[in-house]
Structure formats: C-alpha cells, structure tokens
Amino acid sequence: MRTIPLKTVTDTVADLCRTANYKIGDDVFKALQIARRKETSPIGREILDQIIENHKIASSKKLPICQDCGYAVIFLKVGSKVRIRGDLYGAINQGVRKGYIQGYLRKSIISDPLKGGNTGDNTPAIIHAEIVPGTRLKITVAPKGGGSENMSGVKMLTPGDGIEGVKKFVLDQVWSAGANPCPPVIVGIGIGGNLEYAPYLAKKALLRQIGSRHQDAYYARLERELLRVINRTGIGPMGLGGRVTALDVFIETFPRHLATLPVAVNLNCHVARHKTAII
C-alpha cells in the first residue's frame, strides 16, 4: 500500500485548475494553427487569429483563456494499492476552492439548481472515479464551460436506428447548436452504455488528443466521416461562416442493453481544457 497525503491531492488539484484555465494543450494549439491555414473565410481567419493570439496572452500572463472558467469536472484513476487517510473528495474540493480563488478564476457554480445562490468558490467539483491496478493516483481536471454544455444532449435510440440514427443525431445536434458553443468545436460522442453512461463516455471522449483515432477501424472511420460532414455545414468559426466548424470528433463506446442504443453528444468549444497529473 502507498499512502498519499491529502495535502498533495489538494495542491495538485489547485495547480491543475489553474494551468488548465491558463494554458491550452499543445495538440489543441496546433489544431487551431492548422485550422487557420485551412480556413478560407476572411472573417473565419480573423477569428482564429484572435483565438491564437489570446492563447499566447493567457499562457504568458497566467490569465484564464475564457471568462467562463467552467465547472470543475475531475476524472480520477485511483490505484487499488493507494491509501488515502481521510476525505479524498473533500481534499479535491479544497483544491478546486484554492485553485479558483488564488488563480482569479470565475466562480460559476450555483448551489441549488432551482433556488439559486452562488457557492462562491466554484465547488463542488463533479468527480468521476475509477479504481485501477497500481500504486498511483491519476487526476485529470477538465473545466467545462456552460455555453457548450447547453448545446449537448443524449438520446435513447433503438437498435434499429443503427449507425444512420447515430449520425443523424450528432449532425442535428451540431446544426441546432450553431454559433452557441463557440465553434470550431470538439465533438465528444458516447455510444452504448445506458442513459447515464453514454453522456459520461461523451465527456471522457473530449480528453482525447486531437488527431488521435479510435483504435477500432470501424469507429475511426465514423470519426473521420463525421468530421468531414460537420466541416461541410459551413457554420465556421463563431458560426459566422467558414470551412472549419470542428477541430475533431471523438467516439467512445461501451456495451449496451439489447433493447437500447443510447447516444450522447458533448460539444466542447475550441478551448478544450484538460490537465493531468499522476501522483
């Protein structure tokens, strides 16, 4: 067994909250530069220039890339030989509190969904934990903004709807979202599982590296096809028209009940924020 102190968890989470908000991943930055080269709309190019310039300012001055610093969505892989003495989730939330206050990040969490009231410190985090073999604790903080989240959805298709039904749902979602999720978007798709698992798969899909393909050739082909079709919608950067509407499309799958075909789409804006540490 290996003991990990709560303070280490808190400090690591605080640091990840800050860096995820200040500095975009290299894969996303490169994808934006490629998008800029591919984009033929003059307005689209101007928008991409501003986005790229913004990343340079944010990372050099340690400022949040976007004023919506998101809901702190946290993925944990807890090694089975890891021992935590005390309240792990409490330590994680303390890290979010610390990161968001000390990092001058916006506090966007409302404590009661209908009665209101800002929690003041961007807690609680939403935590997804898996137990895996080993002695390490892997923490990924993936802040998720409200605008793109509002444009996401889940549908219980039937097995008869098949792959065409999946494609239709994804494209309908991107069309009706239009300018609202701040295109160019990154599209996370979850297929299979059940009602609550498909959206989890779609959110997890957003952690993939831009340019990486699903290891199953069938789904890799579907990812590429959907990316092509989405980029033919003409929606473009900020929905003002252009050739680049999506930077990438990622699919995650899981076995399903024989009577169902759940599919979820989680749209991410072009600020795909996630940072990982392994303790």
């Binding site: 913004n54 949040p64 919608t233 050739r243």
Partner: protein, 195 residues
C-alpha cells in the same frame, strides 16, 4: 455581401444613426469609447422599469451594450478576461431598449427575428465578439466603473472605457444577418449530406 478585405473601421461609442447606417454586414471594426456591460438580470430590471414608465438609471440614447461577465480582476490589471456571453438570452428585452435609443450590441450567437426587426426600425447594429478570446479583449479595456444597480454585484451595469476592441458586424441595421448568410456561403452543396 460586400467584401472589404483588410479594411478595419474605427468607431467610437456612443453611436449615432449616421455611424450605424454606414456599417455593413461582415465589416471588421475596432470599438473605442464607452460601452456598458449588461446581462440577463439587468435586462429584466430595465425592461420592467420601461414597462412601468419609470425613470431609468442611465441614458440609453446612442448606448452600446456588451453582453459580458468578466473573470475576477488580477492585481495590476484593469479587468479580468472578458469575452462575450450569448446575446440571445436577452432577446425578449431588447426591442424595448432599442426603441429607447440603444444603438449597438456586442455579444455572440444569433438574435431573434423580433430583435432584427427592431434593429431595422431603430437603426441599431449587432457586433460579434470572439468567444474564447477573453484575455485579448480585456487588453482593450482602459477603465471600469459601476454605473447602475450596484446591489447586483457582478451583474451590475458597468461602464467600460475601451480602445480598439475588435468586433465584426454580424447583423447590420438593414437586418442582414451573417449567422444566416455566412454558413450558407460556405455550406458544401453535396446533395448526399445528412442534415
């Protein structure tokens, strides 16, 4: 749509009809002068005051509204990163404000047909500001001052003095809408597309 490659027009808020009539869909602008942040809550408050024929805390004539709620201000900075928020949430309150003289709106996303009709009638313009360019936009802000509804804290109306804030004319005062014409222009004409 007129193409004005590499032409950037400098405009100063508050705006006159002469200026708003001259701005065309797709035009790139740099906004200077005084603009006012106003989000959902304040829009509803202003709308209610107008409906009840009460005095408003600010003069609306010529005003430019920026739909935005910034991140906290770091020491040494005038304002935290301040990108646009979705304008559509304020659509239901907007025609009343345009009738009383609001001339410009800066935000992101589509507007309703009612807003576009009011823009045509009252010669107002809607500018798209780039979402996710929040730190870049903050560089244009020279000062910030609360001017109305201080009790709302972060949702109060703030007057921002800005210099060269980049924006694009998304809907002009003739009602031409780049959110419609832009995608249509770049949509691939392949017939086999699934929509």
């Amino acid at each position: 749509m007129e193409k004005r490659k590499n032409t950037i027009t400098k405009i100063t808020a508050p705006l006159t009809d002469k200026v708003t009539r001259s701005l065309k869909i797709g035009q790139r602008v740099l906004v200077s002068g005084k603009i006012y942040t106003a989000r959902d809550t304040v829009h509803k408050l202003l709308y209610d005051l107008i409906a009840r024929h009460k005095a408003l805390p600010i003069e609306l004539h010529g005003l430019v509204i920026y739909y935005a709620g910034p991140a906290p201000t770091k020491p040494g900075y005038v304002i935290g990163p301040i990108g646009p928020t979705t304008a559509g949430r304020c659509d239901r309150y907007t025609p009343a404000l345009l009738e009383l003289g609001v001339k410009g709106m800066m935000g992101k996303g589509k507007r309703s047909i009612e807003v576009i009709n009011a823009m045509r009638k009252y010669k107002a313009v809607y500018f798209a500001v780039t979402g996710g360019a929040a730190a870049l936009i903050a560089k244009s802000v020279r000062s910030i001052k609360i001017v109305a509804f201080p009790e709302l804290g972060p949702e109060a109306i703030n007057a921002l003095v800005v210099k060269d804030l980049p924006a694009i004319v998304a809907i002009d005062c003739r009602g031409r809408d780049l959110y419609e014409s832009g995608p249509r222009k770049y949509r691939n004409k392949a017939k086999k597309e699934k929509k």
